[in-house]
Amino acid sequence: MSALQWATIGLLVLASLVGIWRALRLRRARGVVDVVGPPLMAILLWLVLYPPMIEKAQVEAVVLTPGVTDQQLAQLDSSSPIVALPGVIAADRSIERAPDLATALRRHPAFGSLRVLGDGLPERDRDSVDQRGLSFEPGTESRGVIELESPAVVRAGSLWTMQGKVAGVEGGQVRLLDRSGGVAAHAAIEESGRFRLFAAARTPGEAVYRLQVLDAAEAVIEELPLGVVIAAGDSLNTMILAGAADAETKYLRRWIIDSGSTLASRISLSRGIEQRQHDAELSAASLEKTDLLVTDERGWAGLSESGKALIRDAVEHGMGLLLRVGGSLSSKTRSEWAELGFHIESTDLARSSRLLSAGADIELTRMPLLISGEASVPLLTATDGSVLARWRAFGQGRIALWLPLDTWRMSTRGDKARYGTLWSNTFSILARARGATQPLLPRAPRVGQRAAICGIGADAFIEDGQAQRHRLLIDSEAGNCAAWWPAQAGWQQLVDADRRVPIFVLAAGEAAALMRQEIRAATRQLVRPPSVAAVHRAEMPRWPLFLAWLLASAGLWWWQRSRRSEP
């Protein structure tokens, strides 16, 4: 009880005592009423001032969010309370407006379950829903890109894929424009609204593309920016031990050298004749420097037992190993590779298979073998579902078994980027882990919205486009994470020690349909039926108490007046 209440009690007690004393002293005829009356009045007045708490049933409230349709507004039931969150355009001035959901719920404890109309609850309001029941009725249909999946980092020279979904555009197309205004990629929108785009990454750097959605009349429906970091490559130390010269080895060696990796290779040509590139001797020291060793079944068969043991040991310590199958396997090789975790069976699969690679259907020849191996993962899968290559972890390193025989045809056909993308994927997966661990960046951060960055050092900060530094408050308890509210759109740099990681920030109004869709999806997650007996404690209404006090005091007054006039 507060001091005010104590003071009130004191005053009421004093008043009732004065009342009793006056009644007893001034009048001759005394009754019980004179004694009981004043305290009763005081108690009633106390109740009027501080009504008692009683339990009441909660009501369902309607929460209007941006994107609510006029039809929904017209159909609103006036009996249930309505609250409009910021951004709702409603002509009806009587609708209560609340800065956020938490405020509305605090103002109205009677609000039980919520009926959300419109796009749904933005991130700041989702926590305040708590355990309440929630039903969601989406408002206006969005028009534009509602799903987008694009890599934030792509390797230079590779073909990268982005896909997404467009709503509200029939028979249109999407285009990816680069900074010079040229069309980097374009595709028609499928009937389901999905689209896929394939673009070639060029010189390393930060690139901004613009994704345009065009309708059937080629009018631009939506345009949104897309920041892609084109990453420079690492120089991998690779070694090739080939049992014979073949086209695959030739083009692989060419690509390895062109891509900036170093290559040591040994190709057996005939008995005692080898073609060598740099020093491709097998030793513990040379293998320790090697990131990835590529060999084929003939090269493997030509290795000594000690050589195989060295390789095995090197893989356990982190080296990558790619085993190419270029011909029939001897039972010895089969058993040795089974020890590495791959079981190989001959099947009657067709030698020709097709591979989907960045939108192109490529025909590949492969060995008709079935590889299986527990704890192994498909690395390359043909369109018919058969596995063309598998890899598995082995110690700290990784081993892959590779069946395709003629990927080089892509290179001679002029598809160098596709060829390079296929092999660079493979090499990047298998090669020794030497790279720095990347911080966990937010997906498509937006101006004014909270974004979380994880896995950064204690003195990391953000540098915006004008080279202004923004401090991050890093919570080392929660996995070195920091929250960040970007203030500017465009490229910003996360500077962590000597590492700079670019982050692309969307402006607040950009990709509006995408954001609406995200909000809707998040709101749908919150949908739950209202609990049956939802009650809350609230003050008793004052008017019956006041009426009681008024009647009682009027009665007492009449009683005392009538007594006084008697004599």
Binding site: A200, R276, G414, A433
Partner: protein
Amino acid sequence: MTMHPLLRRWQGRLRRREMADLLVWAPLMLAAMVFLVSRFAPARFVIGSIGLAIAVLVFLLVRAWLRIDATSAIRQLDALSPELEDSADLLLGSMAERSSLQVLQRERILARLSQHPLPAIARAPMPRFVVAIGAVLVILIFASLFPRMDEREESKPGAAATAETPVSTQTVIRSVRLAIEAPAYTGLPPRTESVLEAEVADGSRLAWQIQFEPDPKAVKLVFHDGKELALTEGEQGWHAETVLTDSTLYRIAVSGAPVLADDRLYRLDAIVDLAPEIKVVAPDKTLTQLELGQRQWPLYFEVTDDYGIGDAKLAITLAQGGGEQVTVSERSERLRADAGGDARQRRYRRHLDLGSLGFAEGDDLIVRLIVTDNRRPGANEARSAGYILRWPVDLSRESEGVDGIVQKVLPAYFRSQRQIIIDTEALIGERAQLADDRFMARSDTIGVDQKILRLRYGQFLGEEFESGDRKPHSPGDAHDDAPTQQDALSADHDHEQGADSATGFGKADNILAEFGHTHDHAEAATLLDPATKKTLKAALAEMWQAELHLRQGEPAKALPYENRALDLIKQVQQSTRIYLARVGLELPPVDESRRLSGERKGVTDTRGVLVEAEDDLKVISETYQTLADGSSGDLEAFSSWLRAPSTALPDTLGLIAAVDALRRQPDCASCRSNLLDRLWAVLPNPPTVSRSRGTPDASGRRYLERLQQEPPA
């Protein structure tokens, strides 16, 4: 009501006083208001407000006049002259109805009035509101004298410009007149531009007329390839003339005056006159079989050109006989275009009468259309592909049953080296009878045949056709629609047409991926042993020379080269041993000192067989990266690389201009971004790089270790 003259005079004085009092403040105040209006409102409001002010003033004066009526004049006179004993009203009205006392009193005051002059009227105090409104007006006028905020901002740069020009720290181009006169054959009207950049037809005459402020001593135009054109001073300013034959960039260099205010590169684009394009509507395929009972062969060509089509000739070749006994007769006839249609688009129809040509069983009739345009000098010539009408030896037998199954292979039609020699000799023999241009044309035709043959042999050496770069003036030009001799030659070239919508357009690599395959793997072409390759190369060199002289109309000089080429080809044909190269096998020379000794110590290949490929375009990506990082790098070197004749980029001139702009203003952000945009468009596709995956942390390593220790289930 009659008034006494004295009273009338008094009233007049009162009225004048009242109006004088009004005139002290009202006109001034109204003028101030009009002034305020004129500060902020347009002119018509000002005129309106002047009229309104005059109306208000007149109203105020009339009101003052009317306010002083007889009653108020009498009241004031009573108030001011106590000796009138409040009887001034007796001066008003006629005497008839007055009482005698009144008459007496009137006489008295009249007498007093004649003794004393009428009292002086005090100046009325100014109304109180005048002071207040006057103060407000003074403040407003004072405030309005300050320039408005937007006026001030607008006036600043203007003021700066006016301040700078007379100081003459920079020379300003006052007026520009660029007269453009396209070559007469194009039919384009002459025009003048008032800017320094233009897109003009190739071969146009340009005349500049530029006026400078201040006038320099000498002016010249410096072109980006180093040429200079001096301007001469005339009455209308500085002028110069030149004929534009190639797109170029230029800068105006002034001497004897300060540098130009806008010193940048200007661009002149020469629009090249392209050769006519021939579309063959009928026949629809290059090889047509004669149908039974066919008497005529309908031909239908559509030709378009950018400025106008000249002559059209139909070359008809009849090959008669079979086996070794083939006789070929050639003739050509001029075609007349169908009526209608403009000079840029013409249609040609011709029905060849097979009987009159002497077309018989077993013969081939080959036609091709040769069209020239009106370009001068040197008309562009376009040739269609050869279309063949064949009368099979036994039409009935061949077209039975299997007709749909038999794949008719189109042979590649080109002349042999021996045939070229025969043609050349025949031409030399006929030299005396032929007119010069006719002789030249025939020699050129043989030269084209020689070129086709050279290309054919060049394939064996891994050369690609001379295509890609469109040379508009060369006769054997390639066309988009019409199949050409080159296409016919490349029939064995099986270009896969994997239509791939996902690849963007405008990318050299993607186009290659869509339509072709690469030949730039030097190893892929080593089908011949080195000696044969050498002989073949020599043969090609001879053919080059022969073609050169034939094209220049000197068949006599070409003949020895042709003969030598024939000898060399014969040698190649006789060398039977053809080796397939094994990948990368380049054995080093045998070290005799180690031979058979078994000594392998120190034998290492340190350099390696493969070296990294060199990319000419790497400089573009390097420049792009430097610029994107915010530094400038060596723009000088990049600019000279761009200017080098070996650089072939889609828009080199635009790039040079963009580099130049940034070099002149290194801190101009829009210039930098413009250059980056242009560089991006020509960035080469680098080889795909690989990346190392992130190193696992301690717990990741431990996880992998545990995984390895786990016994397989």
